[in-house]
Each structure stands twice: as C-alpha cells, then as structure tokens.
C-alpha cells in the first residue's frame, strides 16, 4: 500500500522571475532569473542538483523541444533533465517529477523549473496552434475563453442563476485579484480595477469580458526540493514540506458521456479528494488557510472553489460576495494576484503559485503577508478545457502540521 509523499520532501529554495511583457528577455533569461533566486534561497551550489524537470507548453514559440534548453541555459553539469508538457498544468508536472525523485530516494536534491515566452506571437491572447491532426478536423475552433465561458452557461442553468448575479460575482473575483496584484512587484498587472469597469468591459467570449480573463505574460518560476533531513542539515528552519501532489486527467467522460453537466471540473473533484487524503486533511475549509488556484478566467476560480470542497456546491457565489476568498478573508485565494495579474506563462504558472504559498508560509510575502501563517496552503493548476483537462492539486504546509 502506497503511503503517499506526505512530509517526505521539503522546499529548499524557490525563485520567480518578474512576470510581464518581457520584450527584452528571451526564455533563457527568464529561466536564469528564477533559478538564481532559487539557488540563493536554497543556499546550495548548482552542482548539488542531481536531476531536473523542465516545463514548457508551447515550446515551438520559444525554446524548442527537450530538456536541453534548461541544461544549456543554466549550464547544468550533465544531469538528467526531463522536459514535461501537460497543458497549462505543466509547471505542477515538473514539480511532481522533482518531488517524486526525492521522495523515492533516487536523488537528494532536484530542480523543477517552468518557463513560457508567450509575447512573441504578434497578437494578444494565447497563441493559436494545432490541437492534433484529427482533433483539428472536428473540434470546435475554440479559444480558451470560449471553452471556459461555457462553464457560466451550464452553471447558470444548473443553479437557476441570473446572468447578472453570476457576472457580479465573477467581477468581484477579478477586482479582488487586482487588489492583491497591486501589492506584488513581480506581477504583470499592478493596477486596481472596480466592479463597474469589469462589468462593462468589451466582451471576449460571452459572458466573459476582458477583465474576466487573465493576462498573457512571459515568466519563469522554479523550485529546488530535497528531503526534510537534508534541509535541516543545511541549516533550514521553519520548513515547508510537501503534503500532497495529485493529478487527475480526463478520460473522455466529460466530453463524450452525458453524465457530466458542464458546470464543474470532474478532475478537480477527484484530484482534491485524493490530495486531502494524502495530506491527512478531513475538513478542507477549516484546514486550508491559503489557496492559489488556476484563475485563467474569473468563472474558473468561482467553480473551482466548489470543486476543491471549500465552498458548498452552488455556494461559491455567496462565499465570493461575502469576501471569504479576499486577502483578509478566511481562505484567501490568489493573494499574490493570481493568473489574473501574473498572466499565464504556461510552463511557469504552477510553480509561480507555489512560490507565493511558500513565501507566505515563511513570512516573507512583504505587503501581502497574512498575519497568521497558514498551516496548509494549496495550489490548483489546470490545463486544457472544462470538458477535457488535466487538474493538479498540490498541498504544502508547515513541517509539523
């Protein structure tokens, strides 16, 4: 019987580049920026890293295939580098690889680094690209906002909700994230917005307006992990350990079988249930003190809070409007500004989320720091579309939690 990875691995160091329209930076520059911070934070020499996992999604847009770009950018000493891609959850996949390597005892220190250079397309939004030879012939010509917008129509139909009520709650989510991003010097978008501006913004994909969508940015984030014993041996105190790393992948039920109603993420429900079990958490709403979820769109964040079992089904709107997920609420969500303000350099986002939870747990989050350090923090990183996706849930916490 597998025992899971709870407390077998600790975060030794983390780094995160400044996110944004980094016109003057190549992907390699962003990688180095994140890595140098992480290496300094870890207090080790790069030759102590024994294996690396490297995440990018749209590699043809910047570094190209394989693990070589990471090895070359950092001049790694011929260690194994595995390049991973799992849609927008790629960053969490790199992390899973590194954590599993340490947990298995295969190596003592491992690196996970994600990067994406998105702003070389010539247009706004995510790059439009092939989704596979056969898929291109019958899938609707979806954009990401169009795919996620459909959550709104199905959620409304299921819960008998007016468009305006849903739109207002979605606006609250975006306003909250912009408030948080305004306090984060590494965020792409650092300006506050108000609800009326969100409500009246140009329509991207009905009912998602411009401010219901996350930004599109360049960026990189990085984690170095080791065992708790080695971390302590290196003089680290207040360790943040990994409590759970789970991933659930759609097998076609949502898109092909009529048992899914389109209003929620089947995979996130599975992944979060497994993660809470692995972490030994019985009551998520009480235990989880901080969340960074995959807020690619405001409506995604809204339904995800239910799928993570933090809000009751159909109850996320009330919790959102009551401020439960605000920076000063019971369970802050996107206290760093989220995808909303960081944008979504695909390979980096999962690690960027973890970076904020790590900073908060170590009391190093500056103006954004919560007064009470949470025992458990959760990241949720989703790739694909509501009807076909990969959903990753990572829980980290104080070593003694």
């Amino acid at each position: 019987m597998a025992t899971g990875i709870r407390d077998k691995v600790a975060l030794l160091g983390m780094g995160c580049s400044r996110f944004g329209e980094r016109w003057s930076a190549n992907a390699e520059d962003l990688m180095l920026e994140a890595f140098c911070e992480a290496l300094t934070d870890a207090g080790i020499d790069k030759h102590q890293i024994e294996a690396a996992w490297f995440s990018t999604a749209i590699e043809e847009q910047h570094v190209g295939k394989s693990g070589i770009p990471l090895a070359m950018a950092l001049r790694l000493p011929h260690i194994p580098v595995t390049r991973v891609e799992n849609y927008c959850a790629s960053g969490s996949e790199a992390f899973r690889g590194a954590v599993y390597a340490v947990a298995s005892g295969a190596c003592d220190v491992a690196l996970a680094l994600g990067v994406e250079k998105l702003k070389d397309t010539g247009y706004g939004g995510l790059p439009q690209r092939s989704r596979g030879a056969v898929n291109d012939m019958y899938w609707s010509n979806m954009s990401a906002p169009g795919a996620f917008a459909q959550l709104a129509s199905a959620y409304r139909a299921k819960h008998g909700m007016s468009r305006d009520d849903l739109k207002r709650a979605m606006a609250h989510i975006s306003v909250k994230s912009h408030d948080n991003g305004a306090k984060n010097p590494k965020a792409h978008l650092q300006k506050r917005i108000d609800e009326e501006r969100v409500m009246n913004a140009p329509m991207i994909a009905e009912p998602l307006g411009l401010f219901d969508c996350c930004g599109v940015s360049d960026g990189s984030a990085c984690a170095i992990v080791t065992t708790p014993d080695i971390a302590r041996g290196l003089g680290k105190a207040d360790l943040v350990t990994i409590k759970a790393v789970q991933l659930a992948v759609s097998n076609g039920t949502e898109v092909q079988h009529n048992s899914w109603d389109g209003s929620y993420f089947m995979t996130t429900r599975v992944a979060s249930t497994r993660a809470y079990r692995e972490a030994g958490i019985d009551n998520p709403r009480q235990a989880v003190g901080l969340t960074e979820v995959h807020d690619c769109f405001s409506v995604t964040e809204l339904v995800t809070m239910e799928d993570l079992q933090l809000s009751p089904e159909g109850g996320a709107i009330r919790d959102v409007m009551d401020g439960v997920y605000d920076a000063d609420g019971a369970v802050p969500c996107q206290i760093d500004g989220g995808l909303k303000c960081f944008g979504h350099p695909i390979g980096a986002s999962g690690l960027r989320m973890l970076y904020e939870v790590y900073l908060q747990m170590q009391g190093r989050a500056g103006d954004r720091q919560r007064s009470a350090t949470p025992a458990f923090g959760l990241t949720h990183n989703l790739g694909g579309f509501p009807h076909q996706n990969v959903s990753s849930v990572v829980i980290v916490g104080q070593a003694d939690a």
Partner: protein
Amino acid sequence: MTVGIHAFGGYVPPRRLQRAAVVDANAWFAPALKSLGRGERAIANWDEDAITMAVEAVRDALSGAQRDAMAGLFLASTSLPFADRQNAGVVAEALQLGRQVRTLDVAGSQRAGSSALITALQTAAGGGGPVLVVAAEKRSARAASALELTSGDGAAAVLVARGDGVARLLGVATDSVDFVDHYREQQQRFDYSWEERWIRDEGYLEIAPVVIRRALQTAGVEPEKVDHFCFPAAAKRVADTLAHKVGLRAGSVRDNLQQGCGEVGAAHPLLLLVHALEHAAPGDVVVATGFGQGCDALVVEATGELGRTRPVRGIAGHLACRRADSNYQRYLSINDLLTIDQGLRAEVDKQTGLTTLYRNKEMLLGMIGGRCRACGTPQYPKSGVCVNPDCHAVDSQDDCPFSEQGARLNSFTADRLTYCPDPPAYYGMVQFDQGGRAMMDLADVNPALELVVGQRMRMVFRVKDYDRARGFRRYFWKATPD
C-alpha cells in the same frame, strides 16, 4: 415501364440579403441598379458551398431509411468547390449512401441541373435507378453587378426511379445550341455577359419554344393542359411571353422566385420543379425547363402519391424560414469581394493530412460514431474503449450515425477572440437524445435570438475550415438551432 420522381426536396439558406441595401451601397457607381432593388436574395453563409447545400437538399427530400437503396447520385452545379475531387462523392459520403452508389458531377452550363435530371430519368428507365439528382449553386458575382442582385444560392434534389412515384414522366426534349449569352473560363471567378435584350430575343424566345413544344408533343399533352410552367430566367415576363408563344395558359406560369430567393443558376430548374410539386394536385401537369447553350424541357404528371411523400421543409418551407440581412459589407467579405483585415489568428495553418482524412472519413463526413454492444451507450467519436464509466468494454462498438439524431444544447458561448469569418464564433456542447455528445461549432445562430441551455439543435453539414494556402476545404457537421 414508367419512370417518375419518387421524392423531392430543397434547400434555401435562411439569410436573405436585402436588395435595397446592395442598391443603396452601389448607387454612387451604378444608379441604374435601382430597378433591381426590390425584394431579397438568398445568400449562403461563409461555411456553405454547393456540396453542403446539396447535402441539405437531399436530406430535405429523403428520410434516412431510404438512403441505402440509392444506385446513383448526380450532382449538378457550375460552382462546385473542387475541379478534381469528385464533389458528388463528398455528398454521398456525408449522406452515407454506401460505396456502391454511382456518383457523378454534372457541370459546365446553367442547363446542368435539368440535363442531369433527364439523364437520371433515362438511367432509371433503363434499370439503373434509383438515382438521386441534386443541383446546388453558390453564385459568384461581381460587386455592383446585376447578377449580384438577381442571383441566389440554394439547392434542390429529386429522387427518380422506375414506377410513377409522385410525378410520372410523360416526355422530354433537348436542343443543344452554342448560344453564348455569358461564359466563365476555368480559373475565372466571374461571368462575362452579353446584352440582356439579345439574350431574351434570340435566346429564350427563339430557342426555348421549339423544345417546349417538342416535349409536349412527345408527352402527348396539349399546351393548354399544362398546369405549372417553370422557366428559370430571372428576367421579368420572359416566362409569360414564352407561355403565350407556346400556347400555355397564362395562369400556368409559376413564380420564378425572384422576389424572395433569386435565380439559383444550374439548380434553379430543379428548385422551380420542386416548388411546383409542393403546390401541385394529383393529375396536374408540370413543365420544367432548363436554359443554357440550348434548352431542356420535361413534362411530368403528378400522381395520387403526391400527398403522401413530402419534403421535410421543401422550397416553400425554406423560403418561409428567413432572416432579413441588410449587412452588404458582411456579404462582400465572406464572399471574398472585400478584403478586410482578418487578423493574425486567421493565419493558423489548416493543412489537412489526406491520410488522416481518409482514415477518419466516416467519422468526419458521415458523422459516424459508435454504440457499445455491452452497455448500449452511443458515443462520438467511436473509440476502442467504451466511454461509459461503468462499462469501459474494449472493441465493443458498432457504427452509430449521429447526423440525423435530435439534440439539445448543454453549454455554449459566443467567442470574439478566436478567428471566424463571421464573428462571433458560436460553439458549445451538444447532447444527442439517443445519448452521446460533442463539443461542436454552431451554425447560423441568430444573435438577436438568445441561445439557451436545453434548446433543440439539429446537425448540418458545413465547411469546417478553409486552407487557402493550398486550395482545400474540410467539411464537418455543425449544430444549428432547430
């Protein structure tokens, strides 16, 4: 052995371009067009062509059960999308007529539709039926031309076979005359036309009467016994003058559909015939004609079967299902008559792997999915492992057609980010009544009518993507509000 028409149907795209909008926009340049400014013309959407409209016309004419009995499918048009890839073959694949169907493209003249019909009747008489004859046209006309105002897009289909059917063939006649009133060389987009008065005097009024008289003689029908006279010219009063010249009753001249549809090229003879059959009573005599480098004439007599075999909507039904459109600029853009900035997202490569297409052609063109023998779950596409979470049987699926299944909308959006020639792009999760679902593009959504979860949808065969770099287009099914 008699031969006749056994089923009939048609298709007219719902969007109707208001001629006044065209005339107003062009008045600075061509004020004389004002005389053509009344009424409206049917225009195909950006994702429709002669192939897709032909599919719709056949579906209108046939119930699904009859399809596997077809011996032939003739597709007539002067606007076939492919010069060398049999267009009728795509139609047959979409309709799943089976690979033994004899498919044939008939082209090159405005008479293609009527000549295909005569040939099919003769084939059926010789024992080669049943044959589906479908004529479809997506007209191409220069901006500010008269043809832009008088032409229309659409399709019509008739099934011919031995036996009287709904309309028994009494006689046919054809004259071939290289009368060049207009022409269009290969590679040319637009017609080059000669003076209308000459076409009327030397063409319609000299060439057609001879043929019509001979067809009636062959049929043994006195001119005054004709109840419905169909002549496909757009020009006013030509049919009336012809009827007078041949001795047909003035009341027999049928509406040429100029006010509500426009003249649909090689498909127009069949459109008018189908429209006449929709209104005919048993015993009525119908004369159908086609004109182009000569003339075709057919004489048929409606039978008592007529009341029992009706199209789903027919031409009249499609004409009633209309949406007025005054956006001339949109028409110009989707017909490549105006170059608007499509944006960088339009540059995505749409190359089609022909191996991939061939391997998946039933799935893509026929919308064939699978039904699990173990649990009965229909699913699209067909796959090696059943999608039912409680089943997951392996290699358990039989072919299951989806294109004629009723469906409902589960979720949807109107997307202004993704590239679409006619934004916003509508798409959504469509759930079939029999089971199964697909995330599909939606077609012909009227922005003025709000989509709602749960509303009825039906499938339509459409162009999915154009590969302009290579001159290819790929087809798939879309869902449209029913």
